[in-house]
Each structure stands twice: as structure tokens, then as C-alpha cells.
């Protein structure tokens, strides 16, 4: 049977990867029959209604799911399609309490209330005899008209349309778990910082990495724990590490900030540990013990991209103060040095290859300046398969969520199209990190231009 999925009209490039991840979690094969980035409607072929329910219950970017009873580019086509697709189902709902509703996407409803009623009563051939209940009928049928919304109009420079370009009839099956986004809203969370990832994309990230009960998840740049909290929401037990222990600990004495969030969301048993460490010199060296890795590595803009070690030129010696090695004295803070962005990506992939179980996933965010966005080579490793790449765009930069699957031993992926960039030579953050340099410099240029405008 075919199903109509209604997506949220946002984060478009994440929608298909997420629905596929949810299908993988459900162990269901689905086929996407029609999809368009400017439309919320997507037709999916799935084995049965139960499969679609399971998928929807895990999805953040789906709004709701319908059994597809008909579609067309106008009402004539729709009415011709409905009997073909759904006649065998009419008897099943003959005596059910039901309601028909009309909804629109991307356009004004030009129809007067009489024509609205005409539309809704034009399906009487289904022969339903049950009582009508407009509020919460057991069976809800939706007539959905799709117009061209203002985003598509402005992006593709197309004119609005008077009449719907597509009309669907669907029997509602279920809502998704999109309301989870409200529960994890940063505004209502006890412990956050300026770089905490928002709830919606954190939950999607956890979905991409296939978080679930019985699994162990890890974030090597845990910060305030946005990702691991979301992985744990879906049932995984989680660990986190950060080179700066203050980020997950917080300022309140005797309280662990990230753990406070776990308590707030009533799942303290899903929290394993947070510890202070550097991914490049990580103490985690066991092979194949993680089911998923979720992370947003530091970009070197708002948070420093640093690893352990002395800055260039300073000799690394064991300093002794009053007969005690400095690093054993209380309050010792190890020195950190700027590190290359590409080198860090490489460290992450190598860590994932070693630590993930077979088919375990790495869901990693990566920033790009828009100059680079046209041809964007993804970092690759022959033991990892790139499952999907999704983009979130901002004004002058964008970031990508790249999802990888750990391949079974013996299987190799083709990495010829992979990112071959290396870091520039140098020792300063600006020398090492192209993204930082481009981002910062452009800021300066823009500012300079502005200054020039105001000063005649």
C-alpha cells in the first residue's frame, strides 16, 4: 500500500535521510515514490500500516502520515484515482465514525464555504454510513491541496498559482513524535550554553545515528550534552568527553550540569559518565564498543579548536616546582595548542573506525563557508560508508550533518571522491584553520566595506 507522509516544511535536506534512518531502526524496507523539496507531501510505499506507524513514532521531521486514497493535479484526476486506490478499503470503514477535512499548503483558500462543502461532500461515493464527528472522529479523512508557497516562488522565481497543483485524499494513520522538540526546547532546559545545538536538530542527529534502547552512545565534544540527552531520549545509555571539563560540569558546585539535564528529563539511569579528555589523545582505546557517536566538533570560531600540547616554540619539559612536578600540583591546567580542522576530522574518523561496532554510526556536523559549498568533498575513510549528507544554510556559512556507517570487516568503501584537503602549514589558529580564516576575514572585509559606506 502507498502512504502519504506530510513533512514539516523545514530542514528539507534532512527529511529523506531521517525517514530512511527511522525505517532502518524499524527494520522496514520503504520506497520513496515521490518527493519534492518545496512540498511537505511525500508518497512512500511500505509493507503495511504498522510499519509506517513505527517509522512515524521515531521521526522528528515528519508531521503526520496518511493512507493514500487518491491523488491528482485537479479534482477530476483525484476522483478518478480514489476508487482505483481505495475501493477495497471502503467497506472497512462503512460504519465508522468519520470526518472529512480540507487543508492547504502554500496558498490561500480561494474557495467560498459553499464550494468547500461541495469538495467535502463530493466523496459520498465511498458510501460511509457512520456518524459524522468533526472534533475527534475515529477515522479522519484529509483533502489536502498543495499550492506554490512563497519560498518556492522566491527561490525558483515562479509565479503563484490560482488553483492547487496537486490534491491528495488520505486517511490519517498517526502523528509523528515531532512534539518531542518542545519537550527538549533549550529555553526550558536547565543547563545550556551559547553553543548548545537546538532540540530539533539534536533529535534528528540522534535519529541519524540510530539511537535506541540497549545501545551505548558517545559524544567526544559533549559540551552541555545536547546530543547525548537526545540519544538517551530514544533509549541509549550515553557517555561524553570534552577537553574543557567546565563545559559539562557547569558553575554550580557539587552539581554536574549535564547530569542535571538528565534529571530534568527524568532519565538519570541513561547517563553513564562525562570525563575530561582530548579526542586526539583519547584514553578510549577499546575496539568496537560503541553503537553510535554523535558530535559537533569545535570549528575554531566560537569555541577554540585545540588539542593538548605546547604552542610552537615552547619546549615540552617536565617542570618541577618546589620538588613536585607541575602537573601533579593542585589546579594544574595542561597547555593546549591550536589544531588543524582537517586533522581533527581525520582523528574523528579514525576513532569511529576503531570504536564503533559493525553497522554502528557516526553522525558528525561540519561547517563550510559558502564559497566551498558548491563542490563539497566529504571526509571519507575506507572502513566507513557515507550514509547521507544534509545541509543547514545560514547567511554566509552552512553546516552539514554527515552520517557514516561502520562497514563489516572485509568490506571497503570507495574513497576516491573523498576530501583530500590537508591543513595549511603553521602554528597559529588562523594559519591552520581555513574555515576560521575565511569566516573571520570575510567578517572583517564586510565590516570594512560598511565602514567605507558610512564615512564619505
Amino acid at each position: 500500500m502507498d502512504y502519504l507522509v506530510r513533512f514539516a516544511q523545514t530542514h528539507e535536506t534532512f527529511r529523506l535521510p531521517e525517514i530512511h534512518a527511522c525505517a532502518t531502526l524499524a527494520g522496514v524496507d520503504i520506497e520513496i515514490l515521490s518527493y519534492y523539496e518545496f512540498s511537505p507531501y511525500c508518497v512512500v510505499r511500505a509493507p503495511n500500516e504498522e510499519a509506517m506507524r513505527t517509522i512515524a513514532k521515531r521521526s522528528i521531521l515528519i508531521r503526520d502520515v496518511f493512507e493514500l486514497w487518491g491523488q491528482g493535479t485537479n479534482y477530476e484526476e483525484l476522483h478518478a484515482d480514489v476508487p482505483q486506490r481505495s475501493q477495497h478499503r471502503w467497506k472497512d470503514f462503512e460504519h465508522s465514525e468519520f470526518a472529512f477535512r480540507l487543508e492547504y499548503f502554500g496558498g490561500k483558500c480561494n474557495s467560498s464555504s459553499t464550494s468547500k462543502r461541495e469538495i467535502l461532500t463530493s466523496f459520498t461515493y465511498t458510501g460511509f454510513k457512520g456518524p459524522v464527528n468533526l472534533k475527534n472522529a475515529e477515522q479522519q479523512f484529509f483533502v489536502m491541496e498543495e499550492y506554490i508557497d512563497d519560498v518556492e516562488q522566491s527561490v525558483l522565481k515562479v509565479a503563484p498559482v490560482e488553483k492547487p497543483r496537486k490534491i491528495f485524499l488520505g486517511r490519517k494513520i498517526c502523528d509523528s513524535c515531532r512534539d518531542t522538540v518542545l519537550k527538549y526546547d533549550l529555553k526550558k532546559r536547565d543547563y545550556i550554553s551559547t553553543t548548545s545545538m537546538d532540540a530539533e536538530l539534536s533529535l534528528v542527529t540522534a535519529n541519524m545515528a540510530l539511537a535506541g534502547p540497549g545501545k551505548l552512545f558517545f559524544d567526544p565534544f559533549v559540551g552541555t550534552g545536547s546530543f547525548i540527552v537526545c540519544a538517551s531520549h530514544f533509549g541509549a545509555l550515553s557517555m561524553g568527553a570534552d577537553i574543557d571539563g567546565r563545559s559539562f560540569r557547569g558553575k554550580e558546585a557539587a552539581k554536574l550540569g549535564v547530569y542535571e539535564n538528565y534529571k530534568q528529563y527524568e532519565m538519570p539511569s541513561k547517563f553513564v559518565d562525562c570525563f575530561t579528555s582530548d579526542l586526539t589523545n583519547t584514553p578510549l582505546r577499546r575496539p568496537q564498543f560503541l553503537d553510535g557517536i554523535v558530535c559537533d566538533p569545535p570549528y575554531g570560531i566560537r569555541e577554540g579548536l585545540r588539542v593538548l600540547g605546547n604552542r610552537h616554540g615552547k619546549p615540552a619539559v617536565n617542570v618541577i616546582i618546589d620538588g613536585v612536578p607541575a602537573h601533579l600540583r593542585p589546579g594544574y591546567v595542561p597547555p593546549k595548542k591550536p589544531y588543524g580542522f582537517e586533522a581533527l576530522q581525520k582523528d574523528i574518523l579514525n576513532f569511529a573506525v576503531r570504536s564503533l561496532v559493525t553497522n554502528g554510526r557516526l553522525a558528525m556536523w561540519m561547517p563550510t563557508t559558502n564559497d566551498e559549498a558548491v563542490e563539497f568533498p566529504v571526509p571519507m575513510h575506507e572502513d566507513l560508508e557515507v550514509v547521507s549528507v544534509s545541509v543547514q544554510s545560514f547567511n554566509n556559512w552552512s553546516r552539514r550533518l554527515i552520517t557514516y556507517r561502520r562497514l563489516p570487516e572485509g568490506e571497503k568503501s570507495d574513497v576516491t571522491l573523498g576530501r583530500t584537503k590537508t591543513d595549511d602549514q603553521g602554528h597559529r589558529a588562523d594559519d591552520l584553520n581555513l574555515f576560521r580564516r575565511t569566516f573571520m576575514n570575510r567578517g572583517h572585509v564586510l565590516k570594512a566595506e560598511k565602514d567605507n559606506e558610512t564615512t564619505p
Binding site: G245, R249, A254, V272, K314, P334, P335
Partner: protein, 126 residues
Amino acid sequence: MKVITANFVTCAVKECKTSPESYPLHFHDAELEQQEQEFQPEFIRNIVPRIDWDALRTTSNELGFPSLPESKPEGEALDDEQILKDLHRLLLETQVSEGKLVCGNCGHEYMIKEGIANFLLPSHLV
């Protein structure tokens, strides 16, 4: 720091990576805390195969727990609720709140404060 995490970490010093003495790290002056957690048998069943059993036996002895069976529970033993509950108690409910983890090879000490271990290295050990 929970006992399960201790089973996944080794000395972060590069020269120690190849030394068998650097794993497991040894708890010194450990202050223990028991914290009741929801029993999640599915997790224990999944994680036990990934545990280094000899290392876990060492850790458990050092922390003064009754000794674990010589071989890792496998197959049907992982359906035995009592075995899973005992492991749950050791791996997830037992925490070291204060103390050190010490490398058996280089002797480096990693401090644990308020349950948080610090694995950062001074520059001459990186």
C-alpha cells in the same frame, strides 16, 4: 566515574598504547558510591560481549568486590536475571567519586574529582 567506563579507558600517553601494563588503569584511594539505577537488562546483555573480562576482574578485585566468575558470561548465562543484575550493580551502579586511576606502565596518575576523571596530559607526555 562508573566501573563500566573504567573498562573502556587506558593510559592516554602515546608510549603506553603498546604496553599491556597500561590496561586496565588501577584505582588508588578510591571513594566508592553506590547509586541505584533503573535495571536495563537489554543494555547489559549488549554490553557484556564488549567488556574486557580480565580487566573487569582486576578492577572489581581492587575495589573490594567479591570476585567475578573466571570466564565471561555468554549465551544462556546472559538470560540469567541474577547474573545480569549483579553486573548491572557493578558496571552502572558503582561509582568512584574521588580517587585516582594509575597507569601500570608509566605510573601516570589521572585524578577523579566529584566523579569526573581528568585524562588531560601535560605537554611533555603528549
